[in-house]
């Protein structure tokens, strides 16, 4: 056994936009153990629910994270609606589906850019983020916001997408799709990229389940599990099958996200074609009294909100188990045994969102 050294990775590191710290125990260049440390920016947003009106709290939920902000708001509203037995208009369900999938595309493109940056492919990073800007333009045009959409509310949606704007959105998506094909072709086929990803950080199917992995981290290990199969929003009326890959390595996790880019485009097209005319929200009266575990598929995986109301305007409990929180143990497992130079790439293969984790 060689000499063991502890190398601190983070909380500030070039590949980390947000603070997470990992103590890497290394022998020469090989990592033998990794001990994670989070909690540097824990905000206690869950506790804030005791002071905020349950209708107002959707604004807080959306601000848990700047990348999947819309889906946080959607998960919260969906939970409240389940407790209060509110049936939202069908059009609102489709609108939520479209904005959720636009979120997924921009989140995956953000991740792809960071990943390219992590393995030193700067031109790919810039190209990817240029395309992401075009997706943000669609979001801004339809919701008024680029980061916080503010378009979801308890009882439905706050804004509509008129038919002519939907036609424009679909046309723009065609352009974006072509650009994404070029990017994905590089990610999947370039030798230097494959050299950094293939066979690195393997998680078996059994380990992925036992370690509580979610999202592309789980599906990259051959488990075709996706909360969209619960048929929330409009997913029950759309043709949808989860994408999974079986190798369990970094390349598989990347391949899942790359394929999901085009799946999301397809889902938006399906939703646009099937979306009925009509109201986008119903009036909400009364206060929630009951409990529900609201589960939705975010870009990084399953998010679980536990919401418990007591018949007053303030909830008893709001708890968010975010996907990155669930993917920390699989990350620790894949780091043990890897080369030190692979650590930044492996950290990014779970697409960490510390803002979510430190809700």
């Amino acid at each position: 056994m060689g000499t063991r050294t502890i190398i601190p990775f983070g909380p500030q590191h070039p590949v980390l936009p947000e603070p997470i710290h990992i103590d890497l125990v290394v022998e020469d260049e090989k990592v033998v153990e990794a001990v994670p440390s989070i909690g540097f920016i824990h905000r206690g947003l869950e506790k804030l629910v005791e002071k905020k009106d349950y209708i107002e709290y959707v604004y807080v939920a959306e601000r848990i994270c700047g990348i999947c902000s819309f889906i946080h708001g959607q998960t919260y509203c969906q939970g409240i609606e389940e407790i209060m037995k509110i049936e939202i208009p069908t059009r609102a369900k489709y609108l939520r589906t479209i904005w959720g999938e636009l979120s997924r595309i921009h989140s995956h493109l953000l991740w792809a850019g960071l990943m390219a940056d992590a393995f030193g492919f700067e031109s790919l990073f810039m190209h990817t983020w240029r395309v992401r800007e075009q997706v943000l333009d669609l979001i801004e045009a339809t919701t008024g916001g680029r980061v916080i959409f503010g378009s979801c509310k308890v009882g439905g949606a706050r804004r509509d997408i008129p038919p002519e704007q939907m036609a424009w959105l679909l046309k723009e998506l065609e352009v974006i799709e072509k650009e994404m094909r070029l990017i994905v072709d590089i990610f999947m086929n370039d030798n230097s990229v494959k050299h950094r990803l293939c066979g690195v950080g393997v998680i078996s199917r059994e380990d992925a389940i036992l370690l509580g992995a979610v999202g592309p981290t789980l599906r990259g290990s051959g488990v075709a599990d996706d909360m969209r199969l619960l048929k929330y929003a409009a997913f029950g009326e759309l043709d949808f099958e989860p994408i999974s890959k079986t190798d369990g390595d970094s390349y598989s996790r990347c391949a899942v996200r790359c394929s999901e880019l085009f799946q999301s485009v397809d889902l938006i097209r399906q939703a646009a074609a099937k979306m009925p005319a009509g109201e986008i929200a119903v009036k909400v009266t009364g206060n929630p009294d009951g409990e529900f575990f609201s589960r939705v598929e975010q870009p990084r995986g399953e998010v679980v909100y536990y919401i418990k109301g007591n018949g007053t305007k303030n909830l008893t409990r709001f708890r968010a188990r975010t996907p990155t929180f669930a993917n920390v143990p699989p990350l620790v497992k894949m780091l043990a045994g890897c080369e030190l130079a692979d650590v930044p790439v492996l950290v990014l293969t779970i697409d960490p969102c510390i803002s979510c984790t430190e809700r």
Binding site: V35, S37, I38, G39, F40, H42, G44, E46, K47, E50, K51, Q78, E82, I209, L210, L211, G212, D225, M227, L229, L230, K231, Y232, F292, F293, S294, R295, E302, V304, Y306, K308, T316, R317, R319, R321, F325, A326, V328, P329, P330
Partner: protein, 130 residues
């Protein structure tokens, strides 16, 4: 309803054995969650198998709550167990990776069992208010 959610009452003494049965059936540990209910804490252990949702539930006193660790069955439970220890003061016996109160850097100890501080900003005036 989006999905059926099965909530099963368990005893803290049988938690480990029941959790082991879930692992043997192929369930994934989804989360461990604590809710303060007055002078008691409600503990929830959530599992999923092909989107079948099962939740174990039991109560503990707010002060002096003590539970056995399930991290020997699901290693990933260490994150949740450190969380409930830091935020709610739940004593977890046998956590596989115990951060001993340093998982979260909080300004106060066990903040989630404290009463919410009164709002420091007055509520905004409504139309018609004087």
């Amino acid at each position: 309803m989006i999905e059926e959610q099965t909530i099963i009452a368990v005893m803290p003494e049988t938690l480990v054995a029941e959790t082991r049965k879930m692992r043997d059936q192929g369930y994934r540990l989804v989360q461990i969650c604590v809710t303060r209910l007055g002078e008691e804490l409600q503990l929830d252990y959530t599992f999923d198998l092909n989107r079948k949702f099962v939740n174990f539930r039991f109560l503990q006193p707010k002060i002096g709550a003590r539970v056995p660790s399930v991290s020997g069955i699901y290693w990933c439970a260490f994150t949740y167990e450190n969380e409930i220890s830091d935020l709610f003061g739940v004593q977890v016996d046998g956590n596989a990776l115990d951060f001993k109160g340093t998982f979260y850097k909080t300004a106060m100890k066990h903040p989630f069992i404290q009463d919410a501080a009164p709002a420091s900003v007055p509520a905004p005036a409504k139309p018609g208010d004087k």
